[in-house]
């Protein structure tokens, strides 16, 4: 964080705060406010509209070249904006996949035309995206993809199936790796495409999770025709492009975290909500916070959150020095996702009987979002590559241990 004129930053802070007051959905954050159901079209539209507002106000799109619609801000400004947004709480963006994984992939492997066509509309939330990666028989083994693509003139005819497609229900565009050369060896037989979700033959069936929501889908490609111009990277290079997508996904938005110099006294290393929850929950006459076992568990998460913050910064500096291989993201990915689960377990133990209340029950705290998180985090250590696969990456690619069974 550079030493900028503090007055300027404070003005920005006031500006953002006023803007938020003006622009947040009516009643947002107040006890009476009822958010649209998670995963519903209403929630999607709200998120989309919100994301567009934020972009139009110049409060997102940082770190992207301006010729693709990016917005220039100093790191200090970004930190102020992010902090104000977090402090207030904002609607979840619709389709975070576009900014999180499609943009980095396009920036690395897309041609100029593709970048100009797609990135600006991702930033402005005019188009949202889905990711058709996992297949029923190729969960964590991306090289084993069975979807086939056959060239027909200027188009590819794609057939096959995906599971765990995220964001697909309302997506406008998708990314998909396809086997285009069945005779080529592993890692050389795939090509990577972006495709229009309104293409004939593309079908989406919601896939319900243990949370009761259908956040993911199964998707079917039945002779879907994709123009050759939509191939990202070279023919046969699809595995590498897909890995770039996964790396971006596993990195979980490292690029969006602005550094802050001090521990935020207001967020207590990110555990303030747990402290509050523990202090507001009584068990046999005492608050849960009075139980040193929970107090220390919460403290442990404060420690781990700070550790993650500083590790991300270390990685950022290493990236600038070009000392990263890309495999390091596995570290943060494993740790943060397992931490999410452990945190959710702790919340469930703090809340006791009340963790049972699901969305829709008037007694559910925050309309059941704590319970939703408790259940949802079970998937965290599976999606975008299981933690088992990532541990293998660390062992083999970072430590150079001999390959285990493959």
């Amino acid at each position: 964080m550079t030493d900028e004129e503090p007055g300027k930053l404070e003005a920005l802070r006031q500006e953002v705060r006023a803007w938020l007051k003006e622009n947040l959905p009516e009643g947002w954050g107040s006890p009476g406010y009822v958010a649209p159901e998670r995963g519903s079209k209403e929630a999607h539209d709200l998120g989309k509209a919100w994301q567009k507002k934020v972009y139009d106000a110049g409060y997102t799109g940082f770190g992207i070249p301006t010729e693709y619609g990016g917005i220039e801000r100093s790191r200090a400004e970004v930190a102020v904006i992010r902090d104000e947004m977090q402090r207030t709480g904002t609607p979840p963006p619709a389709g975070s996949l576009g900014p999180m994984i499609v943009i980095p992939t396009l920036l690395r492997y897309g041609n100029e035309e593709q970048k100009k066509r797609f990135i600006p509309k991702i930033l402005s939330a005019e188009e949202s995206w889905c990711e058709c990666f996992s297949e029923p028989d190729a969960g964590s083994d991306l090289a084993n993809i069975q979807k086939t693509g056959v060239r027909d003139g200027d188009e590819w005819v794609v057939n096959g199936q995906s599971v765990w497609t995220s964001g697909s229900k309302f997506a406008d565009w998708g990314v998909v790796p396809v086997k285009t050369d069945p005779n080529a060896p592993r890692h050389r037989n795939l090509s990577y495409f972006v495709f229009d979700c309104t293409s004939p033959g593309f079908e989406v069936r919601p896939l319900k999770q243990m949370t009761g929501d259908a956040e993911f889908s199964e998707t079917f490609f039945d002779n879907v025709r994709i123009p050759h111009a939509n191939m990202i990277g070279e023919e046969g290079q699809g595995w590498y492009v897909a890995m770039a997508t996964l790396e971006a996904e596993r990195g979980g938005g490292i690029q969006f975290v602005a550094p802050s110099r001090r521990i935020e006294p207001t967020t207590l290393g990110g555990v303030d909500i747990y402290v509050e929850l523990a202090k507001n929950t009584k068990r046999r006459g005492k608050t849960v916070w009075d139980d040193p076992i929970f107090r220390q568990r919460i403290a442990q998460f404060a420690i781990e959150n700070e550790a993650m913050r500083h590790s991300r910064e270390r990685m950022r500096v290493k990236a600038i020095k070009r000392q990263l291989t890309g495999n390091e993201q596995s570290i943060g990915s494993i740790f943060s996702r397992e931490k999410n689960q452990r945190q959710a377990n702790m919340v469930a133990e703090i809340m006791g009987a009340n963790i049972q209340f699901m969305r829709g029950d008037p007694r559910a705290l925050d309309d059941g979002s704590w319970t939703y998180t408790f259940l949802r985090t079970r998937g965290n250590t599976i999606e975008t590559g299981t933690t088992e696969v990532l541990r293998g990456i660390i062992a083999e690619r970072m430590l150079g241990l001999p390959r285990s069974r493959q």
Binding site: W164, M210, G212, G285, A353, Q356, G360, D361, L375
Partner: protein, 403 residues
Amino acid sequence: MAIEYGLNEEQEMLKTMARDFLANECPMTHVRELMEDDTGFDPELWKKMAEVGWLGLVFPEEYGGSGMNFRDLTILLEEMGRAVLPGPFVSTSLLVGIPILAYGTEEQKNEILPKIASGEAVCTLAALEEDGDWWADSINIRADYRGGHYVINGTKLFVPDAKVADYMLIVARTKRTENPEEGITLFLLDTKEVYGTMSTLLKTMDETRKQYEVVFLNVPISAENILGELHQGWPIMKQIALNTTAALCAEMVGAGEKVLEMTVDYLKERIAFGVPIGSFQALQHRASDLVIGLEYSRSLMEWAAETIKEGDPDAATAVAMAKSFCGDTCKKVVAEGIQMHGGIGFTWDHDMHLYFKRVWTDDNAFGDSNYHRELIAKKLDEIHQLAGGGRWKITSGRMIPMG
């Protein structure tokens, strides 16, 4: 009498019969149908359970029961855990039936136990209140004596199977003294005979077990319907908790063992990177850890069940140890079950999440693992005090045994 480890022939038969019965009468497809139902109750299935003698399993034959014992009952519970059985079995048998057998008047026993055994009467217990907290101080719903009978007012929460209950055992406060464990009375309400109760289904995580809010509005109840003594309900409540906790341990172990079996099967079938994932050593070792955890869970659970069966003074300790260990272990088992199944284990259509939710709900009921571990710590302290500072002393740089 010695603790009986493992099952005798009769118990082996009971177990086999129970597994077959549940596989036939309540397969997973039926569990899912009952989840969609607001009561989760299937009168047909209930009738069949009565016919095979489960509903009065531990009642003497004079009350229409099968005359079996508590350890036998936990064998059923294990199988019900494996099957994630919905419905009011725990409510009826553990929360109400056994307490009536133990503390009821001859009249109460004669009236209700045969009905339970024959499947005519479904029962439940209304104990927890708004804070969902399991201790006497939270019992605030009032039963006031007015005009020759008691009048109950207030709200109970997390009442299982309230909608289908013919009898409801209500834990109410009849007196407030310094000691919150005094002045609590248990009332046995015939739900068909009174007005003024209103049950609302709660939207809770484990949809195989329906729970309700029950509001009591000037519900009259006669002193004859007290279970045990006036003001002396809490000790009974503690015994109910003890029995039920032991039963829930059996249910958790049953669920955990089933999850392990499903997971091991999946590890053998699922191919990744060209081989069955069960040949990956990391997964093998984690599966082995679950075997270890379940061996000790079962050991403690069987001991706990035996102590209850025997009325052993160690029962409180045994049950607390079992609950703490089974809870920790089975929560780990279901989490690992999902993880090792990968994506499929996270879907609604796969059964893993039913076990996950059941185990977490069981762990929470009547105090979770942490609570029961703390009970053991308190017990250690107590024994140490009683022994006059323990049998070891540290003196002159040595820890030496006393006397």
